[in-house]
Subunit: 222 residues, 2 copies
Amino acid sequence: MPNTRAPDGNAIRTQRTRERILAESLRLFNARGEPNVTTGQVASALRMSPGNLYYHFRNKDQIVEHLFEAFEARIGVDPGEAFDGPAAMEDLWLYLHLMLEAIWDYRFLYRNLDDLLARNRRLRTGFNRMIDAKTGTVAALCEALVRSRSMRASPEEIRALARNVLVVSTYWLNFQALRGVRDDVSPRDLGLGAYQVMALVSPYLVGEARAHLDRLSRDYLE
Amino acid sequence: MPNTRAPDGNAIRTQRTRERILAESLRLFNARGEPNVTTGQVASALRMSPGNLYYHFRNKDQIVEHLFEAFEARIGVDPGEAFDGPAAMEDLWLYLHLMLEAIWDYRFLYRNLDDLLARNRRLRTGFNRMIDAKTGTVAALCEALVRSRSMRASPEEIRALARNVLVVSTYWLNFQALRGVRDDVSPRDLGLGAYQVMALVSPYLVGEARAHLDRLSRDYLE
C-alpha cells in the first residue's frame, strides 16, 4: 500500500547507501587515483557485499558520472548577482577561490582527465559544458569589474583571460604533480594554484582593486 | 685496421639508420599517439626487420628518450644575448613562438605527458630540467623588458607570469583536445596557443611594446 504521508524507510535507506558509496568512492579515488580503485575495493571499505554495491551502481563509470554531477552542481553557482562597485573584485576572488576548492575536493577527475574523458563520452560532454559555464562566469565577473572601473580590459582581452583562467585551473594540479618530487599533490599545491590564477587577473586591475587582490593572493603563499 | 682519415662508411650508415628510425617514430607517435605505436610498426613502416631496429634501440622508451633529447636541444636556445631596448619585446615574442613550434613538432610528448613521465624516471627528470630552463629564460627576457621600460612588473609578478607561461604552453594542446569535437589537435590549435600565451604577457607591457605584441598576437588568430 503506497504511503504518501510518512517517509518511506526503504527509500531513505537506499538513498543513504548510495551516498555512502559515492563518498567512499570519492575518498578512495582522490587518495589512490581512480584507475587504481575497483568497485570491489569500495564495497570492501564499506563492509558491503559487491552485490549490494552493484544493486546501486552498475559499474565504476556510473559512480564517476554521479560524482561529476555533484561536482558540477557545486560550482554551478550563479554569479548573476554580481555587484558593480568595490564588491565586484571580491565577487571574482570568491568565485575563483570556490572553483579551485571544488577542483581540489574532486581532484581525481583532474589528475586523470584525458583517460576519463576519452573513455566516457557523456562525461566529456558534461565537462565541456562546465568549462563553458565557468568561462562565461569569469568573463561576466570581469565585465562587472570593467563597469565599476576596477579593471581595464577589452572584450577580446577578457575572453583570452577567462580562457587562461580555465587552462591554469584545469591543469594546475597536473603541473604540480609533474614538478614535485612526490607523485601526488598536497593542499599546499591548491594555495599555489589560487595564487597563479589570481596572477592572471591582477595585471588587468587598476588602483585599489589591484592592491587588494595582491594582498588576498599573497595569503595563499603562507 | 682503424682508419683515421676517411669517414667510416659503417658508422655513417648506422647513424643514418638511427636517424631514420627516430624520424619515423616521431611521425607515427605524433599521428597516432605514442601508446598506440609499437617498435614493430616503426620497423615495418621503414621496411626494416624488427631485429635491425632492435640493434639500434633496445625498446620504445629508448627511442622516446632520444626524441626528448632532440626536442630539449632544439629549444635550449640561450637568450643570453637578450638586448635591452625595443628589440627586447621581439626577443620574447620570438622565443615563445619557437617554444610553441617545438612543442607542436614533438606534440606526442605533451599529449601523453602524465603516463610517459610516470613510467620513465629519466624522462621526468629531463622534463623538469627543461621546464626550469624555460621558466628562467622567460623570466630573463621579461627582466630585459623591464630594464628597457617596455614592461612594468615586480620580480614576484615576473615569477608568477613565467610559471603561467609554462603551464599554458605545456597543457594547451590537451586543453584543445578536450574542448574539440575531434580527438586530436590541428595546426590551428598551435596558433591559438600562441595567442593565449602572448595574452599572459601583454597586460604587463606598456605603450608601444604592448600595441606591438597585440598586433603580432592577432596574426595568430587568422
